[in-house]
């Protein structure tokens, strides 16, 4: 084991930031699952809402990507 404490903090921070990706996965799953449960109840209305589905997924995913970015910045830029 070598390296200094700042390096360790960097790696731990990057690992913690990666938790955000998992949280975003929960969010995306929630959006898609709720869409599916609604779509199966009224399939004729589902096709019109696919755009909304993707917008919802995109918004949920964006914050996960932010945390991924923080992890990358900690690993490679700081």
């Amino acid at each position: 084991m070598e390296g200094d404490i700042a390096n360790m903090g960097q790696f731990i921070g990057a690992g913690l930031a990666a938790i955000g990706s998992g949280a975003a996965a929960i969010g995306v799953g929630h959006v898609a699952g709720n869409f599916l449960s609604g779509a199966l109840r009224n399939p004729s209305a589902a096709a019109a809402q696919t755009a909304t589905l993707f917008i919802g997924i995109a918004f949920a995913e964006a914050l996960g990507i932010f945390s991924f970015l923080v992890a990358l910045l900690l690993m490679f830029a700081v």
Partner: protein, 252 residues
Amino acid sequence: MAGENGAEGGSGLSIHPMDQFIVKPLFGDGPVGMFTVTNVTLWLALAVGCVALLMVIATRGRNIVPSRGQSVAELAYGFIYKMVEDVSGRDGLKYFPYIMTLFLFIVFANFLGLIPMSFTTTSHIAVTAVLALAVFLTVMVLGFVKNGAAFLGLFWVSSAPLALRPVLAIIELISFFVRPVSHSIRLAGNIMAGHAVLKVFAGFAAVTAVAPLAIIGMVGVYALEVLVAFIQAYVFTILTCVYLKDALHPGH
């Protein structure tokens, strides 16, 4: 720092997952200046060339029974036209050419990046930030030109209780100005993450014991990346349509 990620191969074979994103001059090893022709320049130009190939050369025949290229171009045209009409409304159709350009450029840049040994231009925030800032400025200018001060109604939620409106105004203001950030990072982050994952799997493939598993994994991830490349272009375009709708019809 973090260099041991792809170096499991031993025997001097070390692939760093982020090495594929390095911007290099195309000719020689000089420094990268403002006007240096780099690999980014090459692949951006190739993306533009592919768009021109599809929309100009392939549709040149204007056949009643379309050729393969022409039907792809017509399909893309119809797809985006319907999207703009559905999301932005009929008066958004005036801005259809811009949105079509954005979609085709991003989709071709993404797909060209999937060719092995190629360079993925959309994985760079510098590229996507320009696209997102262009959309943001278009929306802002268009909103004020079309609606004047009424565009500020976007931040003043008139359907909410009066006491809540200042708080909501602050939230709306922040979410409005964070749009170019999230718009650009969503595309760049997705593409970059996917390609980095591919390279990490490629690093595992150098270890003989897990090579078959790693290769199967790579095929799966690659298939996912093909899907992501299209979906991210779609999401970028549809969010542009949503923002455009805000500019044309502010207020809730």
